[in-house]
């Protein structure tokens, strides 16, 4: 994906038309959809599970996304960029499923909040609370407390609007510009959401550690 990519934000038009497509003709038919889908299937499955928050909903999301992608595939102009296209469709299907379940995906009001609204700093909290007073690697020792399932639990509790950019960039290696195209927002909005997601992750890790007894919070009188 790149500058020429425009990702339709509505699920009904989840297509990635390329403005710089030389011929303007659909070329997706050169390669069967099944081959394109299989190439990205494992990553798309992981994305759907993380986005939905659990395996059962993730599987439904994957299936619906593939059906929708299959229908739209003839309109994909650049199959080389199919990964971002598939992820964008899955993102739109996920939004539609949330709406169908009566759960609104908050975006505007959340983006409109003061960016400094969440000032929690895990780095600073660890330095102040000093849960491992004899550690030479205080911050790393804290991160080492977390098993994969602990991380997943914390990650899954992040507001989905802010979790999505983290999944796309950190887990799946999209550049921020590519991730912005997948989500259908300007780059600045994506970067802001990435920061907010990181802040929620930091707070979530600390609270999880305290609640689950991984650290003992020290409250000086």
């Amino acid at each position: 994906m790149g500058d020429g990519t425009r990702v339709a934000t509505r699920a009904s038009a989840a297509i990635v038309p390329m403005a710089d497509s030389p011929s303007g003709q659909a070329v997706a038919e050169d390669r069967p959809f099944a081959a394109v889908a299989r190439e990205h299937l494992d990553r798309l499955y992981g994305f759907c599970v993380r986005l939905a928050g659990n395996a059962a909903d993730g599987e439904d999301l994957l299936q619906e996304s593939l059906l929708r992608a299959m229908r739209a595939y003839p309109e994909l102009r650049e199959p080389d960029r199919a990964k971002g296209w598939l992820f964008a469709i899955a993102t739109n299907v996920w939004r539609d499923q949330l709406r169908a379940r009566g759960r609104r995906v908050q975006t505007t009001s959340l983006d409109g909040l003061d960016e400094n609204g969440d000032n929690f700093s895990l780095f600073q909290t660890l330095a102040i609370e000093d849960p491992f007073p004899y550690s030479d690697e205080l911050h790393l020792d804290f991160l080492r407390l977390f098993r994969d399932e602990d991380v997943q639990a914390v990650f899954g509790a992040i507001n989905p609007v802010f979790r999505l950019p983290l999944i796309l960039t950190v887990v799946h290696g999209f550049s921020c510009k590519e991730a912005a195209a997948v989500v259908g927002v300007p780059l600045g909005t994506l970067l802001s959401r990435l920061h907010r997601g990181r802040k929620q992750l930091e707070r979530g890790l600390w609270e999880y550690a305290v609640v689950n007894g991984l650290v003992t919070e020290i409250n000086e009188p």
């Binding site: 499955y45 059906l67 700093s121 895990l122 780095f123 960039t169 550049s175 970067l191 990435l194 990181r198």
Partner: protein
């Protein structure tokens, strides 16, 4: 010159190599003078790795893969009919 809160705000954008030239220069100039933010940047790298490590690719359970294969075969059948 940017302050620490602003540097922290740019930190993950920096790790994602998403800062434009001017914000990047300001960020790096701040790091030259701030050991605290250097420490937090290093911590952020490890925090990022913690999230990135598991499940970037997850093997699909066999029953789900079978279901997906049936869907993909539908498409192949449709292509075959169109070709005929």
């Amino acid at each position: 010159m940017i302050d620490c809160p602003e540097a922290v705000r740019r930190m993950w954008s920096y790790l994602e190599q998403a800062l434009a030239a001017e914000p990047l220069a300001e960020f790096e100039a701040h790091l030259d003078t701030c050991t605290r933010c250097c420490g937090e940047l290093e911590f952020s790298r490890h925090l990022r790795e913690l999230v990135a490590t598991p499940e970037a690719t997850t093997a699909i359970p066999p029953d789900v893969r079978s279901r997906i294969d049936r869907i993909l075969m539908l498409d192949a059948d449709r292509d075959a009919k169109v070709a005929r």
